[in-house]
Amino acid sequence: MTYLVSPSTDPTLTKALLPEQASTQVSNQANNIASTDPLLSLDKVSYSIEQQTLVSQVSFAIAAGETVSLIGPNGAGKSTLVKLILGLLTPSSGQIIAEQPLRLGYVPQRFSVSPILPLRVQDLLAQADTRLLSQEQQQFIYDQLQLAHLLSRQLRHLSGGETQRVLLARALLERPNLLILDEPMQGLDPDSEAWLYQFIDELPEFLHCAMLVVSHDLHWVMKGSRRVICLNKHICCVGQPSELVVSTEFQKLYGHHYEQPYVHKPHHCEHHAPSELL
């Protein structure tokens, strides 16, 4: 089974489908061309539950159009931080400020539909609020993600890669200005991974949005992100990939050579509940 699909970069096709964007269409290096306008700011955000601190004093901002990668070992609080940003959890202290009206897109780490709900792909996609996209733009997403033959399939019968494509389409159909991908490569075979990376790298201009990608794949993180945040409940280090690899904290977690297979090296930090810090 392979469904390696290369996102179209044919300018004629893009022009035909997206006349209003044709003049601004670029062969997209755009994922790393960020505006300086902040989209979202986190200010000393902490989250504790049952005396256990899951996220401690996290501060950073995401600019419009910027791709930020969030890395960290298992249990580092990455998914908790994502839930805080999505508004699914409320910070114990600190604040998350939307500097501009946020339209969030989210591709969850795990997705399964109960068998009692006979949901087809088209039923899931119909749940997206597509008001901000024209019919042509919606069709462009369907074409790029090769969804036509999946539409009448039951969601629970899709493979991991197909599910990711459908979830990505659902998120993009709402034209988000911040797309959050929570470990999007989990459970994918290498071909699907390669396809998804390329798709993310080459998102067309009209879908261009800031992205927060939670990933364990350091190769892609180092190649595809403008900025990397390394989390281990608190922010251990943050910066451009070239700065990160020489950081002591990063090396403590991932070793000197990040090209080596991912190995988690236990890293001890003292974490305090927010109340203890006051």
């Binding site: 839930k83 999505l86 508004g87 699914l88 969030l104 989210y106 969850p108 997705f111 539909v113 109960s114 009692i116 709900l117 006979p118 949901l119 087809r120 039923d123 899931l124 749940q127 609020d129 039951q154 659902r170």
Partner: protein, 275 residues
């Protein structure tokens, strides 16, 4: 035949109206995994009726009070060590016991207990129909209002919440519609069988449907078949209407299950042969 029809018609129409609400509501109950909650509410209607008679309140108010009691009990008992289905089963039987106790000891309704437990739709007359029609219409309008949000929540709660849907408010609203249905279905199929009328058409429809919309349409048809055959057979066999409706729905479920399993096996064998 015509004289029979005149006697049966109000019950038949009342049952059909209930079926219009029970089918989509039952689908949502299954999708939101609230079958046990629906059962607890249904069992609680008996206590609601008992309290209403004892305190001389409108029946609907008694049932509403018990529904609120169920929700409060759930909030109090909620504990991650206790599985929710077990908690709801305990609430259901406790409410049933209190309901029977109230009806038999505190009111003069001992003779009608069987009717409350298993329903007696044939006692409905033409004068009852406008009220049932209004209640069903209100229920359907309320369902229409929450439908999209409920389906999104059933699909993936986090994605639904990002779209601005409030799960707690939606759950409360849904519980309200469910409690309303229990109140009007009590006289049709009785406290013990309400959940059967609610869940069986939707469960059977799931075996045949490949989309949420089709599931609702098939459940609507099955509910109407169940009510029609159930009402007529209850007259011919001289049994409780609720019993006959739920039995017909259960038979339809079993037949559909056997049919779909056989069809799957036969088509698997045929495709194996052609390969």
């Amino acid at each position: 035949m015509l004289s029979w029809l005149a006697i049966i018609a109000p019950a038949w129409i009342a049952g059909s109206l209930l079926g219009l609400l029970s089918a989509p509501l039952g689908c949502l109950v299954l999708w939101r995994r609230m079958a046990f909650f629906a059962d607890a509410l249904a069992h609680g209607t008996l206590l609601g009726v008992g309290l209403a008679i004892w305190w001389q309140l409108p029946t609907g108010l008694g049932i509403a009070l018990v529904s609120v009691l169920v929700v409060i009990s759930l909030l109090i008992i909620e504990d991650e060590r206790l599985p929710m289905d077990a908690v709801l089963a305990v609430i259901a039987v406790t409410l049933l016991c209190f309901g029977l106790l109230t009806l038999t000891q505190l009111t003069d309704q001992q003779a009608n207990v069987l009717g409350f437990l298993f329903g007696n739709l044939l006692e409905r007359d033409w004068a009852d129909l406008p009220m049932i029609a209004i209640a069903v219409t209100v229920g359907l309008v309320a369902l229409r209002y929450i439908w999209s949000a409920q389906v999104k929540l059933a699909t993936h709660e986090a994605l639904a919440r990002i779209q601005g849907i409030n799960p707690a408010a939606q759950k409360l609203f849904f519980m309200g519609v469910l409690a309303g249905f229990c109140a009007i279905a009590l006289q049709a199929v009785g406290s013990l069988l309400i959940s059967g009328m609610l869940i069986l058409p939707a469960l059977t429809a799931r075996l045949l449907a490949n989309s949420p919309k089709k599931m609702v349409i098939i459940a609507l048809i099955l509910a109407q078949v169940g009510v029609t055959v159930g009402v007529w057979s209850s007259v011919w066999l001289d049994i409780q209407t609720g019993l006959s409706i739920v039995l017909i729905l259960a038979i339809l479920f079993l037949l559909t299950l056997i049919m779909t399993k056989l069809t799957t096996k036969v088509s698997a064998k045929l495709s194996h042969k052609t390969q």
